[in-house]
Symmetry: none
Subunit: 423 residues, 2 copies
C-alpha cells in the first residue's frame, strides 16, 4: 500500500485564547488520538485566531494536506465566534438559518427555564448545502460539509461537547473512509543512553518512508521509540509492529525498560512486588523527588516504607548515622557519604534495598573539583553497596530529575528484570 | 495604533510526536507567552510532521500571516529531523556545513568525554546565508534567516534549550521591531478559592473588550489572573496594568499569594528567609512531594533541613515518635496522627516550623468514614499545632498535589506575610 493512498487528517484549532501563551490546546491531542484509533493519521494541527480570513487560509492549507479536516472552536453565540462564517466563505456559499436547528437551540434553553438570548439564533445557521452535527450537550450544533472530495467538520471548542460529537457522529462517519488502511502502534521506553546512541544502535529503523516507521522522542531523559506500522488490514499491521518491536528489543537490550506509558518507577515497583522485596530511600539534592516518583504509583506502600530527605549535614548524621568525620573528610557530596547514607537507610528501615542520592543540584554550590551537576548514587542490599558518580547537565530541575531517574534505573538493572516482556 | 501596523508572529511546531495525540505542545504556549512580553502577538500556531514539504508549506502560510516566524523542533541529529533542510528549501538555498559550528558540536561531546557520533555533524549545517543561533545547553544550534523582510527562526524542540535561546537571543533581536506597540502584562497568582468565586469577587474585570482585560486560568489549583493592558506606548500600558493589579489585590486580599510565575514554595521560602526561620516536613500520602516542591527552590537549604517520608505506620512510630496506640485508636489518617507527626518532626529536627500531611491519595484505601481524598494537614510551631481536615477531589495525583499546595498555603498564612507586595 503506497503512502499516497493513505487517507490523512488535519486539525484546526480556532480561538484567540489558544494564542496567548496561557492556554494549552488539549483538544487537538484528543482528536489526534481518537482519529488514530480508526487508523486515520493526523498530518498537521493549525491553531488560528477567531478571524474569518485566518480560518479560511487554514482551511485551504489543511484541505491541501489532508482528506479530512476537523475544526474546533468559534461556534459560540458571541461576536468573536466566526467559524460558521469562515466555513461558508471557504465553501463559497451563504449561511442559512435552519428552523429545525433554531428549534433545538430554543429547547436547550427551555429545558433550563431560560428564554433563548437573541444572539443564540446565530447558532442555528449553517452554510448552505452543509449538514448539522447534533450537539446533545450544548447549544452549538456542528457543521459537516464536503469540498472537492475533502470532508470538513466543525465542532465546538468545549471539550465535553466536542468529544461526545466526535465519538458519536464524526468517527462513525469516517470509519468507512479508512477501511483499507490500518495503523498499528507500539511504544518502547528506554533509559540509559542518548538519542544519538540509540539511533546508531537501531540502524536504519528510523529511515524516512520505511514501514514500519520508528519515531524517536526524548522527554526528561526518557527516550520513547514509537513504531508505526501501516498495512491494508489490522492483523497485518499488528504483525508488522510486533516483529519490529521484537527486533528493537533485541538491538537495545536492557536500555528498554518498558512499553506504552510505563515510567521507571512503575517498572521498578512491579519488579519489587514480583520479587517481594522492599525499598527505602535517602535523598539529599533530589529533596524528596525520588520518593515522590516512587509513591506516585498506586500501591507503592507494598514495597516502599521509609524515605529521608536529609538536606542538612546534621540530618545525614542524626537520621542516617553518617559520621561527622566522614563528611568533614570527604564532603557531603562524595562516594563515601552516598554509600553511608544508603547503608544507614537500609539498616534503619530494615528493607531489602535502599537508594541514596547526594549531589549538587545548583545553581550555586559548585566548584572546580565538585561542579554543579555532580551526583553520587548508591544502591545498597545484603550483598553490598554499588556507588556511581555522575555529572548531570543544565539546570537545577534537570539535575534533580536525571539523578532520581538514574537512581531508579540503577535499581531496575540490579533487580535484574530480565527482559521487559515479563514485566 | 491601527491594527495593520501591528507586527505579528506565527509559531511552527515541528515533530511527528505532536500529531499522534500523545504529546501536548507546551513549547508553542511558552513562545506565545514570551513574545507577548515584548508586545508581539501570535496570530497562529502550525504543528506539522517531520516532513520537508509540510514544513515548507507551513512556512509559506506563516510568513503570509505574520512578520516573524518562530519554529521549534526537528533539529536533532537523526534522519527524522528535517527542519534544516526545509528551511533551506523554503529559502531556496543549499545547506552548508559550517566548520565553527562543527567545532562547537564536537566540544559539547568532548566535555562529556564522548566522541561525537558521525551523524551529529548534520547539526553543524545551516542554510547558506542564514546565521546560527548559539545553543549553550545542547548540540543543535538554531537558525536565523530572513525572507522578503520576514524574520525566520528555528530553535530546537527540547524545552530547556529552546527557552534559553529564545530568551537570550531571539527576543533581544525582535524587540526593536515592535517599538510603537505596547502591551503590558501582569500576572497575579491566587490560592484558596475556586475560579467562580474569584470571578464573582473581581466583578466585571473579565468582561470581553475591556482594556485592561483580565484573563483567568486555573492550573492544578493555582488560579492565575492575567492583566493585559494595551496602549500606544509602554509607559501608558504599564500604568494601566499597574492600576488594575492594585485594584485586584485589594479585592482579593490574602487569596493573592504572589505575582508572575511565583510558586507557593517560593513565596513561603522567601518568607522563611526573611524571618530567619527553619522548616521540617513529615509526609505520608504526599510521599515526598511537599519536600520536593520546597527543595525545588534554589537556596532552600537555608531554611529546609529535614524531611521524612513515613509511608508505613512503623516509620511514623520509629522516626517521628508517633505512638502505636494512637495509630491503633484513631488510624494513621487522623487529626491526632497528623498533629503528632508535625510535633515529632519539629522536635527531632529542631526547626521553627514543621508541616505534616497524612491522608488517603487513592485510588484504593478509602471507606465511608475515611474516603479517598481525605487529608489532614498539621503545622506546628512553638505556639502550638494547627490541624485541618480536607477532602480533595479526583485522582491520586490531584489529591497529592492539592494536599502539598494546601500545606504550603497554610504555612504562608501562618507566617503572616502581610501583602504579597512586600514578598
Amino acid at each position: 500500500m503506497g503512502d499516497e493512498h493513505v487517507k490523512k487528517a488535519s486539525i484546526l484549532s480556532i480561538g484567540n485564547e489558544l494564542l496567548n501563551g496561557r492556554t494549552i490546546d488539549t483538544n487537538a491531542a484528543y482528536i489526534a488520538g481518537r482519529l488514530r484509533t480508526i487508523s486515520l493519521p493526523v498530518v498537521s494541527v493549525h491553531s488560528v485566531s477567531d478571524e474569518e480570513a485566518a480560518i479560511e487560509r487554514a482551511l485551504a492549507l489543511a484541505t491541501g494536506e489532508a482528506d479530512v479536516v476537523v475544526a474546533t472552536g468559534g461556534l459560540g453565540p458571541t461576536d468573536d465566534d466566526v467559524t460558521r462564517q469562515a466555513f461558508a466563505g471557504f465553501l463559497g456559499v451563504k449561511l442559512v438559518l435552519r428552523p429545525e436547528l433554531l428549534e433545538k437551540v430554543k429547547q436547550f434553553f427551555d429545558r433550563r427555564g431560560i428564554e433563548m438570548p437573541a444572539r443564540n439564533s446565530i447558532q442555528a445557521c449553517i452554510p448552505r448545502g452543509a449538514a448539522a452535527i447534533e450537539n446533545e450537550m450544548g447549544t452549538a450544533p456542528g457543521i459537516r460539509a464536503q469540498k472537492d472530495g475533502k470532508r470538513l467538520f466543525a465542532l465546538p471548542g468545549v471539550p465535553t461537547e466536542m468529544r461526545h460529537m466526535l465519538d458519536t457522529q464524526v468517527l462513525p462517519e469516517l470509519r468507512p473512509l479508512v477501511s483499507g488502511q490500518a495503523i498499528a502502534v507500539r511504544r518502547l521506553k528506554c533509559f540509559g543512553a542518548g538519542e544519538s546512541r540509540i539511533a546508531e544502535m537501531i540502524g536504519d529503523a528510523m529511515r524516512r518512508g520505511r514501514n514500519p516507521l520508528v519515531n524517536c522522542t526524548v522527554h526528561t531523559g526518557i527516550i520513547s521509540l514509537e513504531v508505526v506500522a501501516t498495512a491494508a488490514d489490522r492483523a497485518e499491521a499488528e504483525n508488522m509492529a510486533e516483529r519490529e518491536e521484537r527486533a528493537l528489543r533485541t538491538l537495545l537490550g536492557k536500555l528498554v525498560y518498558g512499553a506504552g506509558d510505563q515510567t521507571l518507577a512503575e517498572v521498578v515497583g512491579e519488579g519489587l512486588v514480583r520479587t517481594g522485596r522492599t525499598l527505602a530511600v535517602a535523598e539529599s539534592c533530589t529533596g524528596g523527588l525520588l520518593a515522590e516518583l516512587i509513591t506516585d504509583i498506586p500501591g507503592s506502600s507494598r514495597y516502599f516504607t521509609y524515605g529521608w530527605v536529609t538536606y542538612s549535614n546534621e540530618a545525614k548524621c542524626r537520621e542516617l548515622e553518617v559520621s561527622r568525620e566522614m563528611i568533614d573528610t570527604h564532603g557531603a557530596v562524595s562516594e563515601q557519604v552516598a554509600q553511608a547514607m544508603a547503608q544507614g537507610a537500609r539498616r534503619k528501615a530494615g528493607t531489602d534495598y535502599a537508594i541514596a542520592i547526594t549531589g549538587i543540584a545548583g545553581p550555586g554550590g559548585g566548584n572546580e573539583q565538585k561542579p554543579v551537576g555532580l551526583v553520587y548514587i548508591a544502591v545498597d542490599n545484603r550483598d553490598g553497596t554499588d556507588t556511581s558518580r555522575y555529572v548531570f547537565s543544565f539546570d537545577r530541575s534537570s539535575v534533580r530529575l536525571r539523578a532520581a531517574q538514574t537512581a531508579l534505573n540503577t535499581l531496575r538493572l540490579k533487580l535484574d528484570l530480565t527482559g521487559p516482556v515479563q514485566i
